[in-house]
């Protein structure tokens, strides 16, 4: 990994990542949202007619839908003061060397090349609003795996794209999925053919790098029967003075006997509104796993969900949230049991400090057909000081026979006994607290690829150093 100076994460992006690359845009749309902007985006991308219609219809839905009246306070978002489309360079780079130098410099600071050298299959790095760099190992292509940015997928794989796009999360699902559907740009598209296992995680870095710029990426993953893929989404962003909006839509289809894991480490700068809709459909005996870490942003509202559509489907959400000063992490998960003999678990770990607020919000729904299904939810919250806040809002609806549903939650502070134990062995208070926090989120860390686990531990350490006297 690249050596990065120790700084307080969340405030010192400039020193940490050296991110202020001068803006150099090929095309810069005007601020605001109206049918003309949407038409312009579609025209710039040379999209087929059906996509333009889809966008315009979505815009109308967005206009009609009210803002959510629950969760975090979103009233400060000014939809008219946002750029809905930016494109950093004209064409896709095929190799690392071809990347524009300033973009490359940014990625260097993030350690992308090292990561790639180590174990990455392909890097699909989103800079501004469009994927500019994209490399795919030959091996993947040979296996028939498609890993590309979503715009290219629309162009190059129109049938596959049209068959699945918007089927898991329709524009009318919620206000922000409608917004994304109207102005989406970039994101990843993955298709794994029948029986193919992709052994190395596929990953993409997402970035926001222009003031007041919206990021509306759209990811679509299709795991055909018996296949496996692990996709990693990691976010870092430089800090800016005005609020940014990130509103992604991630749709995943996991077919019979397939397994998909989607790992996110979200570390947007603390001025970003991160309002994301993530949903997967799991079919017979399929497994969907969301591993979701939320460290950054000012406000995150994100509840990865799994619709268990056929018998034997399994869903997992493992969620970690860390809220520091001025942050509100409203995260959780949803499990919708539609078919018999389906199982799900949600494990949530949240940490609040320095006046931060974490909320777990979850929904377990067992429809009448979901006989003999099981679900278990466990939420643990750690409050590091008396300014911080933690909430738990679990909704459990059981309409099916012979199902078992359990929910447990605890809220506590760092226990005095644990602290005493560690400190009696000569460990300083601050080190001891860091160890306890790292231990607390260990179930999450151990699911991450090594490099991410290391990075996460370091981030927690930095956060803790900033807080404990």
């Amino acid at each position: 990994m690249a050596t990065v100076p120790k700084v307080d994460v969340g405030t010192d992006y400039k020193e940490k990542y050296g991110f202020f690359v001068p803006e150099d845009f090929v095309f810069k749309a005007k601020r605001g949202l109206n049918p003309e902007i949407v038409k312009e985006i579609s025209w710039m991308k040379k999209e087929p007619e059906w996509m333009l219609k889809f966008r315009l219809r979505s815009l109308e839905i967005f206009r009609k839908k009210p803002m959510p009246n629950w969760g975090a306070d979103l009233s400060v978002i000014d939809f008219e003061n946002i750029f809905y489309y930016l494109k950093a360079s004209d064409k896709q780079s095929k190799s690392w060397e071809d990347l524009p130098p300033d973009i490359k410099a940014t990625y260097d600071r993030l350690g992308v090349p090292e990561a790639e050298r180590k174990f990455l299959a392909g890097v699909s790095a989103q800079y501004e609003s469009e994927v500019v760099y994209h490399s795919l190992q030959e091996e993947l292509t040979k296996k028939g795996v498609i890993f590309t940015d979503t715009d290219s997928a629309l162009r190059d794989h129109p049938e596959l794209f049209k068959e699945y796009f918007g089927t898991v999360i329709p524009p009318a699902d919620n206000k922000f999925s409608a917004l994304n559907s109207a102005v989406w740009s970039g994101g990843s598209f993955i298709y794994v053919p029948k029986g193919v296992r992709v052994d190395i995680p596929l990953q993409a870095y997402f970035r926001i790098n222009a003031e007041n710029m919206g990021q509306f990426e759209r990811t679509l993953i299709i795991c055909d029967e018996g296949s496996f893929v692990h996709y990693i989404e990691g976010c870092t962003a430089p800090i800016y003075t005005t609020d940014s909006l990130h509103s992604a839509v991630v749709e995943i289809i996991v077919k019979k006997n397939a397994r998909c894991r989607y790992t996110t480490i979200q570390n947007w700068s603390t001025n970003v509104f991160n309002l994301v809709t993530k949903r997967a459909m799991a079919y017979a005996d399929a497994t969907m796993e969301w591993v979701d870490g939320n460290l950054g942003s000012q406000i995150t509202m994100k509840y990865p969900s799994v619709y268990l559509m056929e018998p034997g489907a399994k869903g997992d959400v493992l969620s970690v949230a860390f809220a520091g000063k001025g942050q509100h992490q409203d995260a959780g998960g949803k499990m919708i049991h539609v078919a018999p003999n389906t199982t799900s678990t949600i494990t949530s770990k949240s940490i609040s400090k320095g006046g931060g607020r974490t909320s777990y919000r979850g929904h377990i729904k067992m429809y009448p057909d979901a006989k003999n299904s099981k679900s278990f939810v466990k939420c643990d919250a750690l409050l590091l000081d008396d300014e911080s806040r933690s909430d738990t809002y679990p909704y459990n609806d059981v309409d099916a026979e012979n199902v078992t549903l359990g929910h447990e939650a605890t809220v506590s502070k760092v226990s005095d006994e644990q602290l005493f134990y560690l400190m009696s062995r000569g460990i300083t208070r601050s080190e001891a607290e860091t160890m306890i926090v790292n231990g607390f989120i260990e179930p999450f860390t151990k699911e991450l690829p090594l490099e991410y686990a290391v990075e996460l531990n370091r981030l927690i350490q930095l956060e803790m150093e900033g807080s404990v006297g």
């Binding site: 409050l383 806040r389 933690s390 929910h407 939650a409 809220v411």
Partner: protein, 399 residues
């Protein structure tokens, strides 16, 4: 008589109510007129459908005169009177408290209750007085199509100790009616109150009730709800812990069968530190019954060293019963211990197998399992008399 301003005046005149109470009724009536019918867009009512409830149908009062309690012999200083009488005899005690916990503005049904309540009881137990015998308040309905709106106001002085039972009884099956059964309980410093409410209205009734207790320093409340009756029953059970050392135990059992719908909303509001609350709601559902439990533990900023527990357990006995459980936490202080849990599940097949293998018929085995399920919480009913009553009642219904 309808739910009109004239009716408000008539009720007030009938009892010769003082001006302040008339005013309070009038302002509650304003709220009743002003507030919309709750709908499914209100979070609290999303799963609770009142669209079929037309309150105007039930504007005939069954106890316009108020129902009076039986008067046991009580120690000196204890006041136990029908609320309508007590407001004239003891305005200084009642005026500052009545509807101070159960607010009329909360929703249309709370407003209706505050504007038109008739009957109910006032119990005042002065400082240091201990009542050995439980006080039994009974509220009857004799016919369908009517409104029965009793209100209970209980005040415990410093160090007072007593038990109280509110029993809501229908005599036989009757047509639909509107029932409320609200209670406000004030616990003075160091007092101990055991309160039990048994709701067994007829199976066509609409029942909407608000119970709220306010606990001063070192007071201890043991509140127990038993919900068995009504077609539709919505009960809010709330405790505000406002003094250090306050301790609230909120327990309930419910048994929903046929087409019954039960809704419980609970609140454990820890306003100050060193307070404790312990909630356990256990329910069994059969046939096509539906239940909703939604509860919140709120630990406010300064409420350090609070200890709160909340659990909702549902035993689903049939294929078509539906249970919703929403246990919520809002924690604003780190020096606390808060745990909650919820379960929804069927009879454990292993338990059933064990009993069956010993020659017990399935129906009996199931009944034994349900009794066992309720067993541990029944032990927490604060006093013997109420416990026996509940056990008999359950026995009859499970039979």
């Amino acid at each position: 008589m309808g739910f009109t301003l004239e009716a408000v005046e008539e009720i007030a005149s009938l009892h010769g109510e003082p001006d302040w109470l008339r005013k309070s009724r009038r302002s509650a009536f304003d709220a009743f007129e002003r507030l919309p019918m709750p709908s499914r867009i209100d979070e609290e009512w999303r799963r609770t459908d009142v669209s079929g409830l037309d309150v105007a149908r039930f504007s005939q009062f069954e106890h316009a005169n108020g129902s009076g309690p039986r008067r046991p012999t009580l120690p000196k200083g204890v006041i136990y009177e029908p609320l309508g009488v007590a407001v004239q005899n003891h305005p200084e005690l009642i005026r500052p408290l009545l509807f101070s916990q159960v607010s009329a503005d909360r929703d249309r049904f709370a407003a209706l209750h505050a504007a038109f309540f008739t009957g109910g009881t006032f119990l005042y137990v002065p400082d240091g007085v201990v009542l050995e015998e439980p006080i039994l308040g009974q509220h009857f309905s004799h016919q369908g199509g009517t409104a029965v709106l009793p209100h209970t106001l209980i005040v415990a002085g410093r160090g007072a100790r007593f038990y109280y039972l509110d029993e809501y009884i229908s005599e036989g099956e009757e047509a639909a009616g509107y029932r409320s059964g609200s209670a406000e309980i004030f616990l003075g410093e160091g007092s101990e109150v055991g309160y039990v409410a048994i709701q067994k209205w007829g199976r066509n009734a609409w029942h909407l009730a608000d119970q709220r207790a306010r606990l001063e320093k070192d007071s201890k409340l043991r509140l127990f709800n038993v919900t068995l009756g009504a077609r539709f029953s919505k009960t809010r059970v709330e405790a505000s812990l406002v003094g250090q050392g306050a301790d609230a135990e909120l327990k309930a059992i419910y048994f929903a069968s046929g087409e019954q719908f039960f809704d419980f909303h609970t609140l454990q509001d820890h306003q100050v530190g060193n307070t404790r609350s312990d909630l356990l709601f256990k329910g069994a559902l059969q046939d096509v019954a539906r239940t909703v439990y939604a509860g919140l533990i709120r630990i406010e900023k300064g409420a350090a060293r609070s200890d709160a527990y909340q659990a909702n357990r549902n035993l689903v006995l049939s294929d078509h019963a539906k249970a919703t459980s929403i246990p919520m936490l809002e924690i604003d202080n780190n020096d606390v211990r808060c745990t909650h849990g919820a379960t929804v599940g069927p009879v454990d097949p292993q338990h059933l197998f064990y009993l069956r293998s010993r020659g017990i018929p399935e129906a009996t085995a199931k009944r034994m399992i349900v009794q066992g399920f309720f067993g541990d919480v029944l032990e927490r009913i604060p006093f013997e008399q109420a416990r026996r009553l509940v056990e008999t009642e359950l026995e009859a219904r499970l039979g």
